[in-house]
Symmetry: C2
Subunit: 192 residues, 2 copies
DNA sequence: CCCATGTGAGACATCTTTGTCTCATCACGG
DNA sequence: CCGTGATGAGACAAAGATGTCTCACATGGG
């Protein structure tokens, strides 16, 4: 079964390379292919054998980010239960991918071409649908559009990811900080 | 007074170049010096006569961003009146600089060297102080740290700036969307 | 009118990154 | 033990961006 062994080894390496690249590019978005290779513990030649170029690497990271987002959306079961709880589940599930998302969020090269990945539109729509549901049942305020709430979620995820990366926020507070600010804001609530 | 005239012309050109560069780099952070020059309506030679290199240009943009932030902080009079109103004033005053701030926010090259501009620390401190004041007088919740609220403000400003830039949010809604989400969050408030 | 100064256009070398190639080595299975 | 295939190291050229230079032009003041 050398064929299976070959396939499995490749898959593991590819995933490891992608994760390393995501972690590095999150911190330094202008990292060289050589730095990416070193971060993954491989040579530049091998990196080039798996991703034919920097563009292919970024596209693969985009696909990975989309896949992780959709997995988080599935795991969060946005249609179940109160909308606020669903939003908290979503943030908790998406946290491991927040760094990658923050990198892709600022890689505006991905969105300037006329051929942008349709996965983002699907994800946007699913998140916006959650906010729409919450607005319809009176949970969420209606003066903030679902589209803006979606953008704000991305922005807060990126901000929290960078704040954790630079040590300004403890990693264990990530979910609470992000979810509470998105849902409840900075103002103190009156005790009912 | 040719000397004064010379100085004045230089200042005007320099400011125009900086604003053009900020507007362009906000949309495409990897723009070439040639593109920056064209966007400002000057040649690459003249651009290079005013900013000795790309690094000098970015540093000048950083200084401009810091100056505009501090001007906004002054104009917002953060120490006056209710903390929530002060935060709204701050967002309103800082809105014109949000695009530039968003660019500098992602230019992590500015923050990796051991010699980073101390202006950011001053600005962070002034904003955090506002949130501390609001927490002390019971206006803001205390389970979100002033540091995180400051980071969240940056993240929301950047998200709103990009959302406006790409047409997903109307420019006139910028202040309301950002301020209301930061302060009140997505959850609907009970009518008192 | 003449000259000084700022500017644009372009040439040129340099540097970095990238894409491609070759070759030696190493691991693994037959 | 031997061959196959992946890998690492390095050389190499191509491409792009940048820094620097020269030269022509135009504008404005003396």
């Amino acid at each position: 079964m050398s064929h299976m062994g070959y396939r499995r080894l490749m898959a593991v390496d590819r995933d490891h390379v992608l994760r390393s690249a995501a972690a590095l590019l999150t911190r330094k978005s202008t990292a060289t292919m050589d730095e990416v290779a070193k971060a993954a513990g491989i040579s530049r030649a091998t990196l080039h054998r798996q991703f034919s170029g920097r563009d292919a690497l970024v596209r693969a990271l985009e696909s990975l980010g989309i896949a992780e987002c959709e997995a988080a959306l599935d795991a969060a079961r946005l249609a179940d239960g109160p909308a606020a709880d669903a939003a908290r589940r979503l943030i908790r599930e998406i946290e491991p991918a927040a760094g990658l998302l923050a990198f892709l969020y600022t890689e505006n090269q991905l969105f300037e071409g006329e051929q942008q990945n349709a996965g983002w539109a699907r994800i946007d729509e699913r998140i916006a649908e959650l906010f729409r549901r919450g607005q319809a049942d009176g949970t969420f305020r209606i003066d903030l559009s679902p589209g803006w709430l979606t953008e704000a979620l991305y922005g807060l995820l990126a901000a929290a990811s960078w704040a954790v990366c630079e040590g300004r926020v403890a990693p264990r507070d990530f979910t609470h900080m992000t979810a509470e600010l998105l849902l409840g804001g900075a103002l103190r609530r009156e005790e009912p």
